[in-house]
């Protein structure tokens, strides 16, 4: 039983990792908390659904979802944040602006889906269950876990092994210095937002497949979970976000399994709250997380 729960926990963690990596990437590079990230995630699931419902194969839906949510994310950056960064009010303004973007995207999705819960047609993804060592693993779970791992590896390669990644890290460290080195930060921002949105969209498709229920508010619990994960990992830290999604995914699966139902949210957010108090820079963050004494 415990082993089975741990296994389920790993699969869930993969999805959280995809979601939170984009979230933390964007925060790391711009110090902006993009609250529209949950809506972008939902858009991914919706695009995949409508592709499949329109007769397309699932792989096409997956690719379209990734591209569409990536582009949407770029659009959010252009419309909501670009101007704010010039005025220098992005910390407060960014939150407000992205709440607005999230509302707009979600309302449009609500009207497109007519407030209904959408379900993939039966056997969109073949239901195959493997059993070994007394554990049950579905093909879908294997697919989710491997998709998450592959995407994370691709992201890691991009960020740490390519010149694009070097530019991103340069802008993250110091936008002004990066500009002096001939890097166009606006371009880097667009590319980073595309990556972040694409990862969120992929997570959206996986979640849509796993629970086979897609609706316009499906992003909200993931946005809340994303908060916990990126705080736990340290805002802006990529390895931190990976570790934190594992801890969070496991913790959540176990609390659901072993604690009275209905208390899960309370426990999770109480942990987040305590975490902010005692270790606001998270497990692996370096920043003196908004602490007055640290910064001034």
């Amino acid at each position: 039983m415990l082993a089975q729960q741990l296994l389920n926990g790993v699969v869930v963690s993969g999805v959280y990792a995809l979601f939170a990596l984009g979230f933390t990437l964007v925060f790391g590079i711009q110090r902006i908390l993009n609250l529209a990230h949950g809506a972008i995630f939902m858009t991914g699931a919706m695009v995949a659904y409508y592709t499949v419902a329109g007769g397309g194969p699932l792989w096409l839906g997956f690719i379209l979802a990734i591209v569409a949510s990536g582009l949407l994310s770029v659009l959010v950056e252009l419309v909501c944040f670009r101007r704010l960064r010039k005025t220098g009010d992005e910390e407060f303004g960014g939150i407000i602006s992205s709440i607005g973007a999230g509302l707009v995207i979600m309302s449009i999705a609500q009207q497109v889906s007519m407030t209904q819960v959408l379900r993939f047609p039966f056997e969109t993804f073949p239901v195959v269950i493997f059993k070994f060592w007394g554990l049950r693993v579905s093909m879908l779970q294997l697919f989710m876990a491997s998709a998450a791992i592959i995407l994370v590896i691709i992201l890691g390669y991009f960020i740490y092994r390519t010149s694009f990644g070097r530019r991103v890290r340069a802008v993250t460290n110091n936008e002004h210095a990066a500009m002096l080195m001939g890097i166009n930060p606006n371009r880097i921002y667009s590319q980073t937002y595309f990556l972040a949105g694409a990862l969120a969209g992929a997570a959206g498709v996986l979640v849509g497949l796993a629970f086979n229920s897609i609706n316009f508010v499906m992003g909200e619990p993931y946005l809340m979970a994303g908060f916990v994960v990126i705080i736990l990992g340290g805002l802006g830290s990529i390895p931190g976000a990976l570790l934190a999604s594992l801890v969070f995914g496991m913790g959540q699966t176990l609390t659901i399994a072993y604690l009275p139902s209905g208390l899960t949210d309370t426990v999770i957010f109480a942990v987040l709250f305590l975490l902010l108090l005692f270790r606001p820079h998270g497990l692996m963050g370096k920043e003196e997380a908004g602490n007055l004494r640290g910064r001034r």
Binding site: R31, L33, V79, C80, R83, L84, T87, D89, E91, F92, G93, I95, I96, S97, I99, G100, A101, G102, L103, V104, M106, S107, I108, Q110, Q111, E220, M224, F227, I231, L235, G262, L263, D265, T266, F269, A270, L272, F273, L276, L277, P280, A289, G290, N291, L292, R295, R296
Partner: protein
């Protein structure tokens, strides 16, 4: 004519209720605290007042006092940990607080009625009482603004280091702003409980947070006129354009983006600023 007024009375009631909540959000932002907890504090106040009326059969005034006090105490309690955080971290912590309150509310069924909500609250608050409460609160906020306290809040919001060097205690003033915000949220939560027969835990969640925040952002965060105007616009707008009512959230969202990008000070404050500039220019020209 009287029928026309009667038709718009519920809208006016809603305006007064949300005005109080908008002031609750306004006062913390004004003191430089990025707290979004007003929705949860209103929920706490509303449930306290509701439980007092339903379970204990208490007099509405007693229930409202209890709601106000619990809101204030909860806010004070919240201000201790929040004093350690800044900016985005405060916002996340208060969003977490909202989620905790909502989920505890749903969980403790015996006391709050759980997901079914708290029903059968006797209606004892009408437009008159709401008007009195809203007027009193507006006066209170206006008085704070003209007072030493308002100037201290301004100094803290603009630069904490400067404020501290002028001998303004940041922790004390921010706790005070929190306490006022909590009391206002609790009071108007309580009023809402006595005004609407029933309470639903999700009524005081993320959605309410966004609504309240939009009022203050749209109206302006630096003058008492801000929340008054912002709330009025956002409540009347969907009514003026009935076909748009279904798209209420699109309007809210688009407005948040446009206002924060192009009118970052909000409507009221921008107008006040322009009037002031004009006056300065005119007097400058005369002398």
């Amino acid at each position: 004519m009287s029928q026309l007024i009667a038709g718009y009375l519920p809208l006016f009631d809603l305006y007064l209720l949300h005005l109080g909540l908008a002031f609750s959000q306004y006062i913390v932002l004004r003191a430089g605290v990025f707290s979004l907890a007003s929705a949860a504090l209103a929920g706490i106040g509303a449930y306290t007042a509701g439980i007092f009326a339903v379970k204990l059969g208490a007099h509405p005034l007693l229930g409202l006092t209890a709601g106000t006090l619990t809101g204030m105490l909860a806010a004070l309690f919240l201000s201790i940990p929040l004093a350690r955080l800044r900016g985005v971290y405060q916002a996340i912590a208060t969003v977490a607080f909202i989620q905790i309150v909502v989920s505890l509310n749903i969980y403790s069924e015996g006391l709050t009625g759980g997901a079914m909500g708290l029903n059968g609250i006797p209606k004892s608050v009408g437009t008159g009482s709401l008007l009195i409460a809203a007027a009193a609160v507006t006066y209170l906020v206006w008085a704070i603004e003209r007072n030493r306290l308002g100037r201290a809040f301004n100094a803290i919001r603009q630069d904490e280091a400067v404020a501290a060097s002028l001998g303004i205690s940041i922790t004390w003033h921010q706790s005070l702003a929190f306490a006022i915000s909590g009391a206002l949220a609790g009071l108007f939560g309580g009023l809402q409980a006595y005004h609407s027969y029933a309470l639903d835990p999700n009524q005081f969640g993320f959605h309410l947070l966004i609504t309240i925040l939009s009022y203050v952002i749209l109206g302006g965060r630096n003058s008492v006129l801000g929340p008054l105007i912002g709330t009025a616009i956002l409540i009347i707008l969907p009514e003026l354009a009935r076909p748009l009512a279904a798209n209420r959230m699109v309007i809210y969202g688009a407005m948040l983006i446009v206002v924060i990008n192009y009118l970052p000070k909000g409507i009221a404050d921008t107008v006040i600023q322009q009037v002031r500039d004009r006056r300065l220019r005119l007097s400058g020209g005369a002398s």
